[in-house]
């Protein structure tokens, strides 16, 4: 069975009727990899690549609203530094042209670069059902456990919303310069009210926010002391493991380094005169 709707209404209707029997697919950069490895044999597909408008990005009221099928290539061209750099750090052009932000959120890999950038932007994700309608979930509440999310088997990710003009920073440590899976990645967003949103990838079962680190800089600002203290506090926010890419010890040390580095980078940005 292969369903290829061209409207969102139709896609939601098929999703509600067929649920897990039809695997929603967009770029296929996770799903078809698993199929080629013999790890996944879907009974059928709900192809989202022909749904009109689902790949679009719009902006209104100081926020971007991107469709679930917006590609990494599209996101890499947005003037939102952390998200654009995260998107550009995924695969090569051929992967970025296919892989989508919705797919990144559904796969919910701890190393999902787009997820980490969106957490630092305090993004909202819109989950839609044909008859129950749409619900908006803050991304920080969306990741429930290792590759477990708030998305139900009869829903689709329709939109992701995030602010347009926050000061953000991004850094990814990997094994090489390109087509690179994170060993540790970090994104930080500073809201216009001066609140910090610190997110990390590959250091826990899901992409995470770092509330202990955030608390310190939200309270004390970006003094040298507060930056050092916040960076050290991130050790309490993470729960890294040893795997073939890196040791838990290395990941913890790099989390500290990246939080300090990106907070300093944001401090430099805040000092710059407004453009």
């Amino acid at each position: 069975m292969f369903s290829q709707p061209t409207t969102l209404e139709e896609a939601l209707d098929v999703r509600a009727r067929c649920g897990p029997d039809l695997l929603p697919i967009a770029g296929g950069t996770d799903i078809v990899v698993a199929m080629n490895r013999g790890q996944l044999r879907p009974a059928g597909f709900l192809d989202l690549t022909h749904v009109r408008g689902l790949d679009a990005v719009r902006h209104e009221n100081g926020r971007y609203e991107c469709g679930g099928a917006a590609t990494h290539a599209t996101l890499s061209r947005l003037p939102v530094e952390a998200l654009a750099e995260a998107a550009l750090s995924v695969g090569g052009p051929a992967i970025r042209n296919r892989g989508t932000i919705g797919g990144n959120l559904v796969t919910a890999s701890p190393a999902g670069d787009g997820c980490v950038a969106l957490l630092a932007l305090d993004a909202d994700v819109e989950l839609a059902h044909a008859s129950r309608g749409r619900r908006v979930v803050p991304l920080r509440e969306y990741f429930l456990g290792y590759r477990k999310t708030a998305l139900l088997a009869d829903e689709l990710i329709t939109r992701v919303r995030f602010p347009k003009d926050w000061i953000t920073a991004w850094y990814k440590i990997g094994k090489r310069g390109s087509v690179n899976i994170s060993v540790v990645c970090c994104a930080i967003g500073r809201s216009p009210t001066g609140l910090f949103h610190i997110a990390l990838g590959s250091v826990a079962a899901t992409p995470i926010r770092a509330p202990h680190a955030e608390e310190i800089v939200n309270r004390d600002g970006l003094t040298d002391g507060a930056i050092a203290e916040a960076a050290d506090a991130v050790r309490r926010d993470i729960s890294p493991i040893d795997d073939h890419r890196a040791s838990a010890k290395y990941r913890a040390a790099m989390s500290v380094t990246l939080v300090a580095r990106l907070l300093r980078r944001i401090r430099d940005r805040v000092k710059e005169p407004a453009r």
């Binding site: 069975m1 290829q4 199929m35 879907p42 090569g92 992967i95």
Partner: protein, 162 residues
Amino acid sequence: MTPEADEMVAVELAINGKPTHLVVRPDETLLFVLRDSIGLTGTKGACLEGECGSCTLLLNGAPVNSCLVLAAQVHGGRVETIEGLAHGDKLHVLQRKFIESGAAQCGYCTPGLIMAAKALLDETPNPDEETFFRGMEGNICRCTGYTSICEAIRGAAREWSR
């Protein structure tokens, strides 16, 4: 409704400009349909994970890993493969430069490299270092002929932008 993986899907697409009608299984990739059903074996499969780039072709003008695209998804699309580059005996400038620079050793990565390079130069005829690197990342050569590969693409870029 009982979904069955062996239900066939009708797909209309253009392959190298030629309107083509296909009937595919929902789980067949574009790579294998091109190679096994159509006989266009220029596009190579290697890692089948989107890591190596040898299966790169252009879908609606943009490079994609054909090992990760389901053929049924390409309905209504425009596919360009390595077989579509030459006009009769007249080679495409990228093909000519790859030969002149000795940029193919075993040749397995070459079709993917050439299609990725075509996408790059179609968009940016005279790419700077950063754009060149970003455009070509994701295509690897295990004979490590990168110096001659870069020379070939730069040579093509010089003719392209003239």
